[in-house]
Symmetry: C2
Subunit: 119 residues, 2 copies
């Protein structure tokens, strides 16, 4: 008998197909649209988009809430938005000591871009 558990989480399906086909290739199916719209929506808020660009352009390619002070919203709001970006697959996070560090998930973001450009 194998010890492998069928309950192990599937390894990041996003890594295989991070976004969607080129948007001008054919009409998206309802499922594809549902998934891709979630990613675009994550960038569809001005504060969240600023935070995303802040993380993406930060030294070392990562940032924590402690690095973010000038977007005009409270630290809990910053944390909330970063969590949303993570849930959408655009950021990953890692706790180190007191702080959670966020970095861009390049494959997902590039796939979104590609869908628009090939589109």
């Amino acid at each position: 008998m194998s010890n492998a558990s069928p309950l192990l989480p599937v390894l990041e399906p996003e890594a295989v197909a991070p976004c969607c086909p080129p948007l001008n290739e054919r009409p998206l199916t309802a499922d594809e649209a549902e998934r891709a719209a979630r990613m675009f929506k994550a960038l569809g808020d001005p504060v969240r988009l600023r935070l995303f660009s802040l993380v993406a352009s930060h030294e070392g390619g990562e940032a924590c809430v402690c690095d973010i002070s000038d977007v005009g919203v409270s630290q809990p709001t910053v944390s909330h938005h970063l969590k949303k970006l993570k849930e959408a697959g655009l950021l990953t996070s890692e706790r180190r000591g007191t702080w959670v560090y966020y970095r861009v998930e390049p494959s997902v973001v590039a796939a979104m871009g590609q869908a628009l450009i090939s589109g």
Copy 2:
């Protein structure tokens, strides 16, 4: 005296800078984020994203409401979403006879993609 009116609308500033700088170049300013977020938000709805891909992939690169029948929403809802995409700068429209035809504004869409890919 010149006849040139200072009240003439500025010619499509979007044509010059359709979206935003690469998102990993530097943190977006509040104004840049406000503007770019509007574009991403337009694609952040599943029905709207399907309609966008439908127009983008339609024969001849354009579609009217009359071409759209299988996204599961009423014709007025389709029209409403297409209008939103147009307001965000992602589609242009032209009335021909009974119908308004929509087509993708490639410079704007490509600039969004580029911001993600350079980012």
